[in-house]
Amino acid sequence: MPAPPCASCHAARAALRRPRSGQALCGACFCAAFEAEVLHTVLAGRLLPPGAVVAVGASGGKDSTVLAHVLRELAPRLGVSLRLVAVDEGIGGYRDAALAAVRRQAARWELPLTVVAYADLFGGWTMDAVARSTAGSGRSRACCTFCGVLRRRALEEGARLVGATHIVTGHNADDMAETVLMNFLRGDTGRLARGGGLGSPGEGGALPRCRPLQLASQKEVVLYAHFRRLDYFSEECVYAPEAFRGHARDLLKRLEVVRPSVVLDLVHSAERLALAPAAQPARPRACTCCRALASRPLCQACTLLDGLDRGRPRLAIGKGRRGLDEEAPRAGAQPPPSAALPAF
């Protein structure tokens, strides 16, 4: 059966069906439509003002590759300049290959690339070292908890290093939908209240961040990469199978079979959730240790690193947080224990 003609240009044969609308398009028209939609998101959401220096968080994976490519196409129209920032988490056998892909992309697109490494930023802690340190703590090793927090921190550092005014990341609609489901299953009201928008406007001195691909489905991202013949690294991190996100991802895949629009429906839900004022996250302030954005006296990255340094990696995760007060950091003056006890 010959492919139908492209529904947009009517000249070429259609090469794909758009997952969401089912419309048959040729490769060129699809890529143009995809770029137009990202442009629309950026303009309508007022994400990147003209003149912005944008740090693209590049991991070498499909999302960030597509994001960097689309933004590079759109950069003249948006009037922004791009910098690639990659983070080296220090995961042997995984990150090296991914970074090689990022380097190839940067060379091909002639974009300046900066690589920041966990080992340099966080006093020698690489993810492999963290994994080894958390290995003995019984339950899941919670590698992604560490890596996620530290990566955000590293990206911020890298962006400041290149003089960026904005940070963009490649999160797509599927990531967002998973996150909403996950936060509900965990009862994480703070994150539910915070999430939903296309990014944060940069409160408390942090750089504004946004996710221009948030309304694009993962399938379309892959299709775009395919038709633009983008070279990306597509392997799962060696620590990922232990993550809680797997449950949500699994569910989402099954839901999508039943109703293809479910991803966007979940994103819509996330945009509209209304949480009680008590559940709203605390007002952001600066970390007392590193001056980064924090909702507690110490930012999560510093808390995690502190726990690692003290040999109690789970200190800041879940119920481990209870241990935070019982033993203040060795350095610095501590109040006498009696003063720290709450009066009953």
């Binding site: 439509a33 309508a44 994400l47 609609a173 309304l215 839901l255 039943v258 429906d265 839900s269």
Partner: protein, 528 residues
Amino acid sequence: MCQVGEDYREPVPKDPPPPPRPGHEQQKCMKWCVKCKKGAPVLVIRAGDAFCRDCFKAYYVHKFRAVLGKNRLIFPGEKVLLAWSGGPSSSSMLWQVLEGLSRESAKQLRFVPGVVYVDEGAACGRNPEDRAETLAEVQSILRSTGLPWHGVALEEVFGLPQSVLRHFSQEPAMGDGAYKEAVDGFIQQQQGLGTEGARDSPSLSPGLEQLSWPSPHNPQSPARPHTAAETEALSRLFNSVRTLTAKEELLQTLRTHLILHVARTHGYSKVMTGDSCTRLAIKLLTNLALGRGAFLAWDTGFADERHGDVVVVRPMREHMLKEVAFYNHLFAIPTVLTPAIDTKAPEKASIHRLMEAFVLQLQAQFPSTVSTVYRTSEKLVKAPRAGRAASPSRPCCLLCLCMLDVDSADSATAFGAQSTTALSLRQAPALQTQAKEPTVPCCSPGLCEDRGCCRGARPSEREDLQACVIEQLCYSCRVNMKDLPSLDPLPPYILTEAQLRNHRAQAMQEIQEFLIEDSEDEVETGQS
């Protein structure tokens, strides 16, 4: 598994504690009920907590009463309609209410209950014989309760008035003081009645006379005889829906409208539904996936005031399904087993089924799943997210009656993303082949008359109606309507109301320029 004497035919051992089974070290710590420390435990609800029969009953009843007491929403003497499906949770609720009424203690329930049963057989494709059989069973149970009851068939949606889809505002919510006053007034009134032995208003006399409720003049209305044509129309409607997900949502919508209608025509101001904690957790995640994020607090909260004059309350929301099942089993609560619309459907058939399977499976692995999701739902509020337009005059969804949650088409939101894709797709061919395709909807319904481009032809008229209905729906109902190929089989009250609203909006547009706006601050905050 969780109950002593699991063989279901055997009566539960009451007096003698069960002999400790050898090699069962758990038995040691569960020798006595954790509550009274002397009764023989018969079941384990949470890990490690074994309850005896009486303590379990006390615990269960207390939970029910506590939910009602905590919320202080149901005033003494108020007429309350119990939505009973025959299933475990709503049956349990019905019996809780009956027990609360018959008790001679001071803590008697003081409202006046009635029961509504909706026969959904036609939507589920059951044959008349089976339906009649179920109905007989239902009637015998309802008669045994002695409460006034209303049996309605889902077919009656074809005779519903348009007013079902309207919001009737009620006087502003009353505070705690008002509740106390009402209770005191009611007690005084009742004491007066008790001594005089006369009653002026029959609607204010539950409780004391409960047992002697005259059964002959029960205002029960046995189902209005529905015609075969209506049954036909209903099954045609449900058969035309493409997905089970949309079918379930449609059924729920129609059922709600019907119950609302029964409540309004018989003067009930509250409707109680038997949603359990487990059910609500499933519903929460389902509705999240259906795009109902804005309405979660209405859909799963204790009270749902979206209809204005009739408030839906969910008093079973603290009971886990497991507790309900055990209570019903231990205390022989009668239930009616009817096949539902998703019976025998595979797990992958609908979002509802998938979520149910997912939550129950996760609950089996992590017993705190349901309660975590449920607690999260309690943190949700019934207000649009901060920074969103919140004008009180915002239109409501035609079907679910929630405030519309859609922005303008070209915003950077999930809705905006979808409507812009639809727009660009539609525009692209229209530019090229305008001459060939005159039936392509080329303008929004409001502008049709002006431009005169969609004139005459029947199909475009239908499209017009379709567009006008879609325009009046919330995000989630729009998605559901996409699975409905044609709106024609929908009950007439929905379509006529849609047209009426549309006309009103057009008339409003015409006089818009002459109206004086008095709320510039609200308009300003609309754009965020």
